[in-house]
Amino acid sequence: MQNTQTPEYAIETKSLFIFYGSFAAVSEVTMKIEKQKITAIIGPSGCGKSTLLRAFNRMNDFVPSSYVTGEILMQGQNLYGKEIDPVEVRRKIGMVFQKPNPFPKSIYENISWGAKINGFKGNMDELVEQSLRSAALWDEVKDLLKKSAYELSGGQQQRLCIARTIAIQPEIILMDEPASALDPISTLRIEELMQELKKNYTIIIVTHNMQQAARVSDYTAMMMIDDNRSGGVIEFDKTQTIFTRPKDKRTEDYVTGRFG
């Protein structure tokens, strides 16, 4: 499957700028993200990783001053086009947040709610079990489905949030430092889980953890701010290349820990 076959892209950006008011937090990003691969976004704090990630499922819409120019294309459609409803975008592109944020409801309802509001007509019990299994949480919670999600540990809560996202069967899953609030063992479980999930989903993950990016991702985008404090992707390549033979000196400094 080398060369001859053009890879399929889940989503791509074309000269994407993201503004907060007059401040361009992210400038000129053009990248193609391959289907059923894990793409990591790395870079120093404040360089616009979260901003870029949230642009993919239009979560930035909730910041009143924010707007984008350029395009984010999914199956040839611009997600910021006039005819596109952001609610539909978020159903297709799910998101897992930095801090686990389950609903203050039962474990079962945490999974079923998203499916229900999106009009799911199948067998809910099955969907809940399936999603929890996919998130490697089923065995731990199968007897606690009626219990509040807050009774779970942080790592379990984060996997519940992943299960909740899987339950609405998105095409892409965005993760913003999903393991940064977790201990090493929970982190490892999430990483294993991502390897499992990429068989069915395209995953884009923001991480500060270089080893994590190197371990889990297939592609890595290196972001950095320019002289105007505006962030941009300075290098985007296979993860192996980024970590062994980066083209940009700044990337090399950053991934080897010599940055700053």
């Binding site: 979560m59 609610v87 947040f97 203050p104 709610w113 998203g114 999106n118 909740r164 339950a167 609405i168």
Partner: protein, 412 residues
């Protein structure tokens, strides 16, 4: 700068600056403590004053000897005996009038007994003493009563009795009760809540979740905050102009075929109270909604929820306890308001229960105000009794609010 050079005081001079710091601290501490002390003293004085009025000695006699009506001791009279005695001794006109107000057979023994005391033997209060006097000068009171009112009986009584709670208004303090006023107050806060809770919650949701943050919503927000501080009498004027006058066909019930009232109904007053507490409810509800963390909104939007689904399934359920708590506290303000009720036209003497939104009404604070303006000391005593009733109602409301808050407090 030379890092080894020490700019801090050391030894005795350090200790002396430390002592100065402690002195300043202890002065402030003393000030805070005296503030607390003054608050406690004022509260104690308030409670003492009320209790002082509501209990104490009373000297009374009967204008007519009970023996002329019945040979049975008063306490042992049965309902039937009371009924026949009343029928036999009241003029037939007076008896029929009473019967028309409420059929005599259906009245309880207590009610008939009150009528017996009021109409036949005509219990007459000579003098009342406060609780403090009754305790401190019991002997002097006894001699004074024996000298001045040789025929009177002297009795230590509580003006706050079950009967006081269940009797309607009367022109004689010893038979008057707060039943009509309690029911009126309950109708008032009920109508106010029905009106202001949905409206206030809706406005708060709109302001917090939907309204864009611009100069217009800024002005609206500022006005709501200011409205919460507008003197209540102004709301009274508003209620008089709008509910009593302009909306008279609605508030008097004439639209619905009610003919015997004008716009000065419990509905008008309840709506006025509703307007009065509306800004409080909006502000409290906004606070409750603000307390719902953004991470929860993001979670909901993240699985493809619309704004309405997020509000309905997450924001409301997670803020409703706070909204209710705030509303109850707002209600307790409405319960104690007097001025707007006077303006809107609460009845000052009314003995029929409010039966519906178009009834005339009175309320506890009105009743209290009314009684305290009377010259006779026994009215001051029942005013004190009514104040205790009002305070108990207020405390109950506040306790409910606290229970609600503790019960539904959420961690995120």
């Amino acid at each position: 700068m030379n890092p080894t050079h020490n700019h801090f005081p050391e030894g005795p001079s350090f200790r002396s600056t430390l002592n100065t710091r402690y002195r300043v601290a202890s002065v402030w501490q003393a000030l805070f403590f005296s503030a607390l002390l003054i608050a406690i003293i004022s509260l104690t004085a308030l409670i003492y004053d009320v209790v002082d009025g509501a209990f104490g000695y009373v000297a009374y006699d009967y204008k007519k000897d009970p023996a002329t009506f019945t040979s049975t001791p008063l306490e042992d009279l049965t309902k039937e005996e009371l009924l026949t005695t009343l029928q036999a001794n009241l003029s037939s006109g007076a008896y029929n009038k009473l019967n028309n107000e409420k059929a005599m057979e259906t009245r309880l023994r207590g009610e008939l007994y009150t009528l017996f005391l009021e109409r036949l033997i005509q219990l007459d209060i000579k003098k009342t003493w406060s609780f403090t006097e009754s305790i401190m000068r019991a002997g002097a009171i006894r001699t004074e009563a024996a000298e001045k009112y040789p025929d009177a009986k002297l009795e230590f009584r509580s003006w706050l009795t079950p009967q006081f709670l269940t009797s309607p208004m009367s022109s004689k303090a010893e038979f008057a009760g707060v039943r009509t006023a309690i029911l009126g107050s309950l109708w008032l806060v009920g109508i106010a809540l029905l009106f202001a809770l949905p409206l206030g919650t809706g406005a708060a949701i709109y302001l917090q979740e939907y309204a864009p943050k611009n100069w217009l919503t800024g002005i609206i927000q500022m006005n709501i905050n200011n409205l919460a501080g507008v003197p209540s009498i102004v709301y009274g004027m508003l209620g008089l102009a709008i509910f009593v006058r302009v909306l008279a066909p609605l508030t008097s019930g004439s639209m619905f075929g009610v003919t015997d009232t004008n716009g000065r109904t419990v509905l008008s007053a309840g709506l006025t109270m509703g307007i009065l507490i509306l800004p409080l409810i909006i502000i409290n509800a906004q606070e409750a909604i603000k307390a719902v963390p953004d991470s929860l909104r993001q979670a909901a939007y993240g699985v493809g929820a619309t704004k309405w689904q997020t509000v309905w399934h997450h924001i409301l359920p997670n803020s409703i306890a706070g909204i209710l708590t705030g509303s109850i506290l707002a209600l307790s303000r409405a319960l104690g308001e007097t001025a707007p009720l006077i303006v809107v036209g609460a009845s000052t003497f009314i003995s029929v229960d409010p039966r519906g939104p178009f009834s005339k009404f009175t309320a506890l604070p009105i009743q209290i105000y009314q009684w305290t303006t009377r010259a006779q000391s026994e009215f001051h005593a029942i005013a004190a009794g009514a104040i205790i009733v009002l305070l108990v109602l207020l405390l109950t409301l506040n306790a409910t609010a606290i229970l609600l808050r503790n019960r539904f407090q959420r961690k995120y």
